[in-house]
């Protein structure tokens, strides 16, 4: 039964390699974008933690910075 499904009347290698290529491409793209996102979040955390208190307070007043702080560990400091 399983070998029949995998064989696909002799087209299994073509069909499965197409699906595999697609899924691997998805995995690579997702990983690359996730790494880039985490890298920028880390840069933000480092920069924010090194800000002077007054500058940090100014940043906290801006909506976008508040939202970034809500998703990074910098907000807990």
């Amino acid at each position: 039964m399983i070998s029949e499904i995998l064989n696909m009347n002799g087209y299994g290698a073509y069909v499965l390699s197409s699906f595999l290529f697609t899924l691997v491409s998805f995995g690579i793209l997702y990983s690359v974008i996730k790494i880039q996102l985490n890298k920028e979040l880390k840069i933000f955390e480092t920069k924010f933690n090194n800000l002077e208190i007054e500058k940090a307070e100014i940043a906290k007043k801006q909506k976008t910075y508040r939202e970034i702080l809500a998703i990074t560990s910098a907000s807990k400091i």
């Binding site: 499904i5 696909m8 009347n9 002799g10 087209y11 299994g12 073509y14 069909v15 390699s17 197409s18 699906f19 290529f21 697609t22 491409s25 998805f26 793209l29 997702y30 690359v32 974008i33 996730k34 880039q36 996102l37 920028e40 979040l41 840069i43 933000f44 920069k47 924010f48 800000l51 500058k55 100014i58 940043a59 909506k63 976008t64 910075y65 939202e67 970034i68 809500a70 998703i71």
Partner: protein
């Protein structure tokens, strides 16, 4: 919708939606894979090789759709000088490019058992390759050019110029004698594909669209963070 994607809202949207979109994508993909690989029937002519259609066609559709959106927004960038549009186009390009590559590679794999060759310089395939080159040039313009304003203009011109290629891809199978078959799914004309194959095709297209949405949201967030990180230096 474009107002919703302003820098003030995006991070909140992504943190709320990212997990939901990812979970939905996985669920729809599993359903689509089951339909495409097991439940859908084989074709009377192409036998089981027709199953490649369930990854090839949605990938081609989405890569074409994304490039069209990038091109239209590029007009907006040049006319209205809207920088948010450039952020959106920059975030859309990676998934569009990857879908373009998937369409080319799976098309090549499908070509071997169907036409007896991995590659042919036929109008549809060549114009799809040209689209990949436009995607590459669009993304490279951001990498190569240091000045942001120049990169925005250059990438916009590339996208607008590349728009000429979109109708060529669409109608290439009608205008020229090609190895590639004409469209089976049509909006204006009668669709020549059976429901038992149309349903898995629709599910896989939905899964691919959800994946491109997920990548877009993550990439947009990344680009936004880059801007905000530069902003922290200026405080």
């Amino acid at each position: 919708m474009l107002n919703y994607f302003n820098p003030g809202n995006t991070i909140k949207i992504i943190s709320k939606l990212q997990k939901f979109v990812f979970a939905l994508f996985i669920a729809v993909l599993i359903l689509g894979l089951a339909e495409a690989l097991i439940l859908s029937p084989e074709d009377y002519k192409q036998s089981d090789s027709v199953r490649i259609m369930y990854v090839h066609v949605p990938a081609a559709w989405i890569s074409l759709g994304i490039f069209t959106v990038i091109s239209i927004l590029s007009f907006g960038i040049l006319i209205f000088k809207n920088k948010n549009f450039s952020l959106i186009t920059k975030s859309l390009a990676p998934s569009g490019f990857v879908f373009n590559i998937i369409a080319l590679v799976t098309g090549s794999i499908w070509g071997k058992p169907t036409w007896g060759t991995w590659w042919a310089w036929d109008a549809r395939i060549t114009s799809m390759l040209l689209l990949a080159i436009f995607y590459l040039m669009f993304m490279m313009s951001w990498k190569i050019v240091d000045k942001e304003n120049v990169a925005i203009k250059l990438s916009s011109y590339i996208a607008i110029f590349g728009l000429i290629n979109i109708p060529i891809i669409k109608f290439s199978v009608d205008w020229w004698s090609t190895l590639h078959q004409p469209s089976s799914v049509n909006v204006l004309k009668e669709t020549t594909i059976h429901t038992s194959m149309l349903v898995p095709l629709g599910i896989m297209t939905a899964a691919f669209a959800l994946f491109s949405l997920l990548i877009f949201l993550m990439k947009y967030n990344t680009e936004l963070l880059k801007i905000k990180n530069k902003g922290l230096d200026r405080l």
